[in-house]
């Protein structure tokens, strides 16, 4: 079910070169295309015809790219199920039984609804495409003393940790250390607070750099997250992208921990 790696890079300047991703964004996209191509009413889809064409497309795709077919197969199975349900004679008891296609139609229309919205969004005057704003280096205007600190969002914190973790993992991969891991988050919290009492502001990365093992690294990160959650530390930076700074904010409230 993994997505095409090219797709993840949504902002890359290199367009994905696979024919498949250029054509369809997924099984629902393909289905809508077939409904349009056959000029049929979405509320009265000729399931047999559409299913047949759908599977033909899958065969074609299979030859181009095997990876994504999994998601398409789910809908293929659904189509086959609907097809067989429609072939079955209706039980006499239930007069107003739901059309077996109803759920699929609902999904298709909902998907189309957001696709229309996406079209409308991209039709707007886009910053960096149609309109431009002034771009300049604000740091020129800011002197050391008046730096305004902004709170760090969780994503930046995780990103920094992830990058650091990757860097260190490579380093540590070569050495195998046997040790009994006895460090707890509580220990780490105490250690962090101790350090912050000695030095008012410490860089986030500095904490990570002092770690001796992957385990230590993870425990340190969790301890910092916990302290931030309990509002015992402040996690700030001067601007997005600049080093993340940790400072002491108040006594730990172990009771809620």
């Amino acid at each position: 079910m993994n997505e095409n790696p090219h797709e993840a890079d949504a902002f890359s300047s290199h367009e994905p070169c696979l024919v498949k991703t250029q054509l369809f964004e997924g099984p629902l996209d393909l289905l809508l295309h077939l409904i349009k191509k056959n000029e049929v009413d979405i509320y009265d889809i000729p399931i047999a015809v559409i299913t047949e064409q759908y599977i033909e497309y899958l065969e074609m795709m299979k030859e181009l790219d095997l990876q994504v077919v999994g998601e398409y197969l789910v809908i293929a199975a659904e189509l086959s199920l609907i097809k067989s349900r429609m072939l079955l004679p209706k039980p006499v008891v239930e007069e107003d039984e739901l059309d077996p296609r109803a759920e699929l139609v609902r999904r298709l229309i909902e998907y189309q609804r957001y696709r229309d919205a996406a079209n409308e969004l991209i039709g707007r005057e886009i910053l960096g495409r149609d309109v431009f704003k002034r771009e300049f280096d604000m740091s020129v205007y800011v002197t050391e003393e008046e730096v305004e600190l902004v709170p760090v969002d969780l994503w930046s914190l995780i990103e920094t940790f992830r990058d650091f973790y990757r860097k260190r993992s490579n380093l540590w991969a070569e050495q195998i250390v046997f040790e009994v891991e006895s460090l707890t988050i509580e220990d780490k919290i105490a250690e962090v607070l101790e350090k912050l009492k000695m030095k008012a502001v410490i860089k986030f990365e500095e904490f990570l750099e002092e770690c001796a093992s992957k385990f230590d690294l993870v425990v340190t990160f969790l301890a910092l997250l916990e302290l931030a959650r309990m509002e015992n530390i402040l996690v700030v930076q001067e601007a997005h992208g600049s080093p993340i700074l940790i400072s002491y904010a108040g006594e730990p409230n172990i009771g809620t921990y």
């Binding site: 993994n2 997505e3 095409n4 797709e7 993840a8 890079d9 949504a10 902002f11 890359s12 300047s13 994905p16 991703t21 250029q22 964004e25 997924g26 099984p27 629902l28 996209d29 809508l32 409904i35 349009k36 979405i42 509320y43 994504v68 998601e71 789910v74 809908i75 999904r107 229309i109 909902e110 998907y111 189309q112 609804r113 957001y114 696709r115 229309d116 919205a117 996406a118 079209n119 409308e120 969004l121 991209i122 707007r124 886009i126 910053l127 960096g128 495409r129 149609d130 309109v131 431009f132 704003k133 002034r134 771009e135 300049f136 604000m138 969002d153 969780l154 994503w155 990103e159 997005h240």
Partner: protein, 190 residues
């Protein structure tokens, strides 16, 4: 301070800002003024700039005010400055963005159930680009992240706020006009 001076000072602040300047931020500078007064000056400024008929437009965007270029001249700007940050969004990213913009806060699974395809890669790319952000966690099993759009999203798409988003089409309108679908996204962006 004379009203004309206040207006000019507001103009200067907007001019030197790299982000849209909000009424709140302006009030921190002009503490003697009511927010309503500041809004009045801003409205006048927008009209003044419009009446001048210049290549620069003062616009209300992302909860603030910003000077932007007239879209008619985008071509010359990109030709002049090759280093200018080009806006690119894949069709997948755009779909994900539309779903999240309208349904926020929303989980990845909810996005995927509408699109029918795995969307984690696209969501992460949009997070890194700061067009999306994590808004919290949903109180269900596994506590998945809830995603929403950022101020940068509003800025990029030139929206005043979230309620400035175009209204979603009615269901019956969509089923009648299925062919307004995918084709209208410009080539370069798909």
């Amino acid at each position: 301070m004379e009203p004309t001076d206040i207006k000019k000072a507001i103009e200067c602040i907007i001019f030197v800002s790299d982000q849209p300047v909000s009424v709140d931020k302006l009030q921190q500078v002009f503490m003697e003024l009511e927010k309503g007064d500041i809004r009045k000056y801003l409205k006048e400024l927008i009209q003044d700039w419009g009446a001048l008929g210049r290549g620069i437009i003062l616009e209300e965007v992302a909860g603030g005010y910003q000077f932007r270029t007239d879209p008619a001249y985008s071509e010359y700007i990109t030709n002049f400055n090759k280093r200018v940050k080009k806006f690119r969004l894949s069709r997948a990213a755009l779909e994900v963005l539309a779903i999240i913009a309208y349904k926020q806060p929303v989980t990845r699974v909810e996005v995927e159930s509408i699109r029918g395809v795995d969307s984690s890669g696209v969501i992460n790319a949009l997070l890194e680009r700061r067009i999306l952000e994590i808004k919290g966690r949903k109180e269900v099993i596994g506590k998945p992240f809830l995603y929403g759009t950022t101020g940068e999203f509003l800025e990029v798409f030139g929206l005043k706020n979230l309620s400035d988003l175009p209204t979603l089409k009615e269901i019956d309108e969509i089923s009648k006009n299925l062919d307004t679908g995918i084709s209208s996204i410009p080539e370069e962006l798909s």
